[in-house]
Symmetry: C2
Subunit: 335 residues, 2 copies
């Protein structure tokens, strides 16, 4: 703080000013033992006098530790990250990383270029750990799981169970939502699924099926969406023409629910009078639709937090167990 010098202050200069060897200075910086009290203090004084800050790069080279972890998001759609979902994940991740000396790197592996970068990252240990969010169970995911860098997954890709992951209880949440519909006395309950090549999509569909099986109801009214608002509209229209008798629909995302809601209203069906609907995700918009959307909330920040924690534990040599975070039903006026 004292000296706004242009040049970077090095450990050698600190050592010299303190009248000790570089080794000694290094020891006090990393507060390692075997330094006399006098020298330790001399070094500390020199550090503040000179405004010394260790050079992270040099340290990384010497210790073979990058001092950074990366949050990698692999997808074919450059816009995915615009989803507020990830912003929340980042907040969670950051909250635990903040207690650490670790830096956070962001890798949006959307193009081939990004994918390559991720691969190299995995192979060359440029980061001390990676948090991977990959929607598709592509080869990249499996590669990541096998890499010798600690990797924890956020969410599970479809068709592939990583060794370490934290996921929201999508299946349980879907079951909850569907049961809620059953409890409301609905009997002809349809669903609009998400992308079935994503873990969340298949899991939520499974939850729907389970709940109806338990209730002894028909789970045959299904249309496939893609998590988007337009997809929801299309799927709802399809549902309406194939199964005009439906009296409720569980929709695998709020975005789709918003699209579906519009189609329903346009078709003259009242919500929840004629058909009750419940969404998933609890996005902010869900409370502002007409009627406000009953939906399933998942603890997104907690997801990020737990990913970071699990990564830490992995990095310190432990073998954590996968974690599934609870989801809960948020009841509003659409049911």
């Amino acid at each position: 703080m004292t000296d706004i010098s242009r040049r970077q202050v090095t450990l050698d200069e600190v050592a010299e000013r303190a009248g000790v060897s570089r080794s000694a200075a290094s020891r006090v910086i990393n507060n390692a033992p075997h330094v006399s009290k006098a020298k330790r203090e001399a070094v500390q004084r020199a550090v503040v006098d000179l405004g010394y800050v260790p050079n992270a790069t040099a340290r990384a080279l010497a210790t073979q530790q990058a001092g950074a972890v990366v949050l990698a998001i692999s997808s074919d759609n450059p816009q995915v990250f615009a989803d507020p979902f990830f912003a929340e994940v980042v907040v969670g991740v950051n909250s635990v990383l903040e207690e650490t000396e670790l830096e956070l790197m962001l890798l949006l592996a959307t193009s081939t270029r990004g994918q390559t970068r991720l691969e190299q990252l995995l192979r060359t240990r440029q980061a001390d750990g990676v948090m991977m969010m990959s929607t598709h169970g592509d080869t990249l995911a499996e590669l990541a799981d096998k890499a010798d860098v600690p990797v924890v997954f956020g969410g599970r890709p479809v068709n592939f169970e990583p060794r370490f992951y934290v996921d929201a209880d999508n299946r349980g949440g879907a079951r909850l939502a569907t049961e809620h519909l059953v409890d409301k006395g609905r009997t002809r309950i349809a669903t609009i699924t998400g992308r079935m090549d994503e873990g969340a999509g298949t899991a939520r569909f499974k939850g729907y099926q389970e709940a109806l099986a338990v209730a002894g109801l028909d789970a045959g009214r299904v249309a496939h969406g893609d998590f988007s608002e337009d997809g929801g509209s299309r799927a709802m229209a399809e549902l309406l023409s194939e199964h005009p008798d439906l009296d409720a629909v569980f929709i695998a995302s709020d975005q789709m629910a918003i699209g579906a809601l519009r189609v329903l209203t346009d078709a003259g069906r009242s919500v929840p009078g004629d058909v009750a609907i419940v969404g998933f995700n609890d996005i902010p918009s869900a409370r502002h639709t007409a009627p406000p959307l009953t939906t399933v909330n998942q603890p997104i920040q907690a997801l990020g937090r737990e990913m970071a924690r699990m990564l830490q534990s992995l990095m310190s040599g432990e073998t954590p167990s996968p974690l599934i975070l609870p989801t809960r039903l948020i009841q509003r006026a659409s049911t």
Copy 2:
């Protein structure tokens, strides 16, 4: 790709296998001149055979270039980043960084710890450049502007004009919105401001004042909010009791507009019949309120993109000019 060896492959190994010196190998890796065609090819072959990937850390140490830039967000509220706004900025930033060899680091400087980190970053050149989004014109911002690392600001802090920044035209957008209200024949136009300790807050207020001045209308109906939904509710209630005659209000954020809308409806005022309202930001929810919100859209991804571009230009020694991105009115049913 060929060899999944545990150990990192080094330049020396490549050189040895290719039968050249390390210097030569280095030259071809960085495709520098002064290497014969034969050797160049030999090295290239060795690279793919061995699956060599340069060690970024070592390179960084040798070249004194980190190979990374950071996006720093300084705020006193750990939750700011949960705002989808930043997610979009990141998408924009990433889109240009993807063409580069640069890594993206994220620094959410919310705690004191984070602040310290940011300061050190600025002083020690651990990154080759920083994109700084700081709402308050605190000392940190000024420090950043003076740092010998290239720094570009996203948005302008209040009370302080950075040398390099890209910002949305908040003032122009606010003027647009207010003029729109005037055009609709409203004459008793109030405003709910954002936080006046943020650049966006003051700029939008200024735009409001300008528009009314031009129209020769009274700009005295103002209540201060804090950009949040609750703050909007409170401010609207205040407005209603202080200036019950208002027939329109320009609200400095959609979040506040949503809160205000509820208060208005509860108070029995119809929108836009009794009072027309326009928000700012064009968040997704804005299209789902009842009635859908007229608002001002700002090109957020473009903001990120331009920040990254400006930073690049700065890093390559140029002296770019500040940039102000246009905002535009999105007309919906609330006016």
